[in-house]
Point group: C2
Chain length 117, copies 2
DNA sequence: CCGTATCCACAATGATACTG
DNA sequence: CAGTATCATTGTGGATACGG
């Protein structure tokens, strides 16, 4: 997740894409293709899996409009919105501590390298 | 992680075992085998990998005592301790919301089953 | 537009056995 | 006691192509 750089990091919300979906939906409903465009390289299969799992858990609703061309909107439920506070804590922790972690990694990797050389 | 039942759930700290290690070390240093015993079924390989990764990231220190039989102690650093607040938030969120998620799952699964039948 | 259907790659975890 | 070495398994995510 690049949304807050927790790629490097020990805290994740569910799978690889869930947190990102929450962020993209926090200001209102979005359509499938909108989400897809804003999420870097998600394949439709994986995005569908993510959204279905979140729907099953009651984090969002899926609304299908009977139009042509088809339109489907995804919207956070109250439960989905409640994740935002947790995401905020997580991002805050990461902002504060990521530099420390990166420094520790560099130090340890350098020490290992010195030992090997 | 059964420590707070986030198995079912969308928030995880790092990999499968990291959060548990933090909890086991929060009141002081522990030895390899102590950790292993308290952590259900971790194989020594996986526990070693977890501990080494955490050490590399500056979350804990590994202290080897020159005794026979060997003794090694793992202890959280300040950075490691800082994860506790995040864990607390996560567990609180889970305690509050897990029932809702489980209810949503039951409801959705039942609806699916009805549709299939 | 909004997906499904197949197949595949890889990382994470586990089982088992062995060692300084 | 505190690991290492190998191998097997699984599960998540991705590539690609196609369908209502």
């Amino acid at each position: 997740m690049e949304i807050c750089p927790s790629n490097a990091l020990p805290v994740r919300i569910g799978d690889k894409w869930t947190a990102w979906v929450v962020r993209l939906l926090e200001h209102g409903p979005r359509r499938f293709t909108e989400l897809r465009k804003d999420m870097g390289r998600v394949t439709p299969k994986v995005l569908t899996e993510t959204l279905r799992a979140m729907e099953r858990d009651g984090m969002l609703t899926r609304t299908e409009f009977d139009e042509i061309p088809p339109r489907v909107e995804y919207e956070l439920t109250e439960l989905g919105h409640s994740l935002r506070a947790l995401l905020d804590h997580t991002c805050a922790w990461t902002r504060e501590n990521l530099p420390l972690i990166e420094a520790a990694r560099r130090a340890n990797d350098e020490a290992d390298h010195a030992r090997t050389a």
